[in-house]
Symmetry: C2
Subunit: 473 residues, 2 copies
């Protein structure tokens, strides 16, 4: 049954191990390296990412080791015994600096930096990308749905369509991105989330008629009764039966909590259902809607005045549709005391050298103005430069400067204080309020400005020249 | 560290548990039920799905239980002690019939059927959907990439962009769908796959120059040396340095295995690289290509004559892009001795009642002609009827009839013989040869015919009439 925690050393790409063995056999493995995590493209055609997965990652890195079983396996597939012996006692002992979990971040920002020996920094690459890319993808989606839904209640329903065991962290990231609860009981248990859920169509079908099904449910759940009303005919059967049960509950001193619509035109049905409920004096009964929802559909429903109080969102959230993946990468930025870059025929794909910091420049209203990337040991800078267009720069001296990078792991030990997903969500919601509306628009959002310091620009250009001396065009 | 196997009873949607408790408290929990698994829409705009995940599912169902820890948690969130006590010794003891792992299946076919008490059949719903939907999504993608790549070697590289722990089963499903190997060492270990991988750009960057990086790698891996040639300049630096190392290896009695292209125009670069290698007498050095590949891009590269021998495919495979999810559902079809349906305002979403079988009608050349769905205890039928259009039918008496459904679990015990993903892949490849080309086309493939028997059609219509007696339009 997938004992990942027993074999976590194997949770990596094969090439991390061939490289690690190569470093080890050529006695280069203790040279110091620094890698950056960053992504190039916002998901969902949006303008930002909610950086997520840091706490999961630190936990997994602390646990990262090679069991005797792992070592036997590596020997069996051809790794050399001197290297495997080194792995037997291997633990990651490097340092990690990162932005806070739940921070809003933007393309090309080195949001997380790993420093240590080349062997240890290389070995954790796959694990790191796997965790950060996915949780950030889902938290970002959740934050968009939260933007669309305003203060309404949001329930995550996606485990059945999640990507296998990916559903475990999907539910966590959904809550840290702004959802109120999840249907996923395992994740609720493991990450201290609220779980929720009531009935499927099969409950209704297993009774002779809908009213009996509703009554039986209400009998056992009188104070938390949400009735699914679309099994046969929402307006002619489901809602009238729900009203009957609501009245019976009321006579017994309870109140029906909600009805759930799971098919049909949700604007049309929610308006009609609201009217029927209100006419029956059931103004307190809430309307839950589900069925292939996402932020765009929720925005459309609400703009048409659909009186929906609670949304259940499944597939598009838990699987991060339409993107399915965040393209985050992990690139060597400093090696053996020297800044390093990967050049490219495309300047936009050239990496930024050295040990870097990120600053956020906030205006007097508390709104984000722009971000700057500089060397970590660089003094204040007055301008940020467009990363690829040498003609564009922006003065940032009138803004208040926030430092975004903090140490998260020191000598292999997680030094962050533990936060629940709900606490992370609070921070993200606060930060989203500091991002101007035009960056939060779903359709063609305004691009958020991220620039680099002059010193960093100069250093990158100097390094690039060393490599790009041949005729490249 | 995510001890899923210790808390597998919680790996479910909350509503499965509220319904299970409701059945239990109303003493209906031992009534017999039968649920069908099926999907409505092919992923990737294709015409078929590779049914996958059966062995994973059976393993998880056999392990499914509620630990003391799980029970404490359920009590803490409000479940009643009599119900939780029932769960303490709960084990799934029902029967499962399904098509073979790796079978080609089509929309609306009940590819898997679960029979047992309503409580046990309901409780495993989420787990079942989570596993089957995801592995089928990925195996289907892999099969499409295999169709595009012909006999070339395919390596799965996606763990870094996979949906968290979803990567574990993604790699397995990639191989059962037709890939030769994976980069994911954990999955290779756990599922007995071949893992592969050599070097990243960081390996090259960590040396003073590319040639030294290549030489060092070749020294440690003289017989399995694939050199990544695009760190600085593929044609002016990477390939010439690879040729130098190939000659040095040859003098030492070894041969360079391959070069890998990971950026730029892969047709242009592979043609130029092939020419340079051939001119150097290195016809045996293979060309590996990677970088955002999928079946459409591979088909395009090969149609332009790109001399690529090996493809590495990551994100689009491991995350099942562009769909990210298969929409498989689990619907009650028989309850307490009686066929059951969920009606709908849309006839295409109405379920098929009863305990059913699937037959494949194969022509004299061994090609698939059509599939039929009937009651399991129904004698031979001569016509299949379009499931929603009453005017369309097809005679199938001239075809050879194959029964697709077999028993996979009996009284809660897995009764299938164990198969490796490579064995499953062989079956899928054999079946793909029986599917005509027009169904395998990527652009607007021909829809494969799936019909229902007259008896099934009649029964469904009769049941529907009972519910749809009111004015529905």
């Amino acid at each position: 049954m997938l004992p990942i925690q027993n074999n976590i050393g194997l949770y990596t790409d094969h090439y991390e191990l061939t490289m690690a063995q190569g470093y080890f056999l050529s006695n280069r493995h203790l040279k110091r390296a620094s890698f950056d995590y960053f992504f190039r493209k916002n998901p969902y055609k949006g303008s930002y990412v909610v950086f997520s997965g840091l706490s999961s990652l630190l936990e997994m890195i602390e646990a990262f080791h090679f069991s005797p079983e792992d070592c036997d396996y590596l020997l069996s597939i051809g790794f050399q015994s001197s290297f495997v012996d080194y792995l037997r006692t291997f633990r990651f002992q490097g340092n990690i600096h990162a932005v806070r979990e739940g921070e809003l971040v933007f393309p090309y920002e080195p949001t997380l930096r790993v420093e240590g020996t080349i062997l240890e920094t290389q070995l954790i690459e796959t694990l790191l990308l796997n965790v950060l890319n996915f949780e950030s993808l889902i938290a970002t989606k959740a934050s968009r749905i939260r933007l669309a839904a305003g203060d309404r209640i949001l329930m995550e329903f996606g485990l059945r369509r999640a990507q296998g065991l990916g559903g475990v962290h999907a539910s966590k990231a959904a809550v840290s991105g702004g959802f109120n609860s999840t249907s996923n009981v395992f994740s609720a248990y493991y990450f201290d989330l609220e779980s929720s859920g009531t009935m499927a169509h099969s409950w209704i079908q297993s009774f002779d008629d809908e009213l009996e099904a509703f009554r039986t449910y209400a009998k056992h759940y009188p104070d938390e009764c949400t009735l699914l009303v679309d099994t046969y005919d929402t307006l002619k059967s489901g809602i009238p039966n729900a009203i009957t049960v609501a009245r019976e509950l009321h006579q017994q001193g309870h109140e029906l909590a909600a009805v759930r619509l799971d098919s049909g035109d949700l604007t049309y049905l929610s308006k009609k259902a609201r009217r029927l409920l209100d006419d029956a004096g059931l103004q307190h009964v809430k309307i839950v809607a589900s069925n292939q929802l996402d932020e765009i559909i929720i925005q459309s429903l609400l703009s048409q005045g659909a009186p929906i109080d609670i949304f259940g969102v499944g597939t598009s959230l838990a699987a991060g549709k339409e993107d399915a993946a965040l393209d985050g990468v992990y690139k060597l930025a400093h090696f053996d005391g020297t800044p390093s870059i990967k050049v490219s025929e495309n300047i936009a794909k050239m990496t930024l050298p050295g040990i870097k910091a990120i600053h956020r420049f906030v205006d007097q209203d508390g709104l984000f103005g722009a971000d700057g990337i500089s060397f970590a040991d660089e003094p204040d800078y007055e301008f940020i430069h467009h990363p690829t267009d040498p003609h564009k720069q922006k003065e940032i001296s009138k803004y208040t400067k926030e430092s975004l990078i903090q140490e998260a792991m020191h000598d292999g030990k997680n030094i962050l204080s533990k936060q629940t997903p709900a606490e992370v969500a609070q921070y993200t919601q606060k930060r989203l309020k500091q991002l101007t509306e035009e960056h939060k628009r779903f359709l063609n959002p305004h691009v958020y400005k991220v620039g680099i310091s002059e010193k960093l620009q100069q250093n990158r250009n100097d390094l690039a020249k060393q490599y790009l001396k041949k005729d490249l065009f």
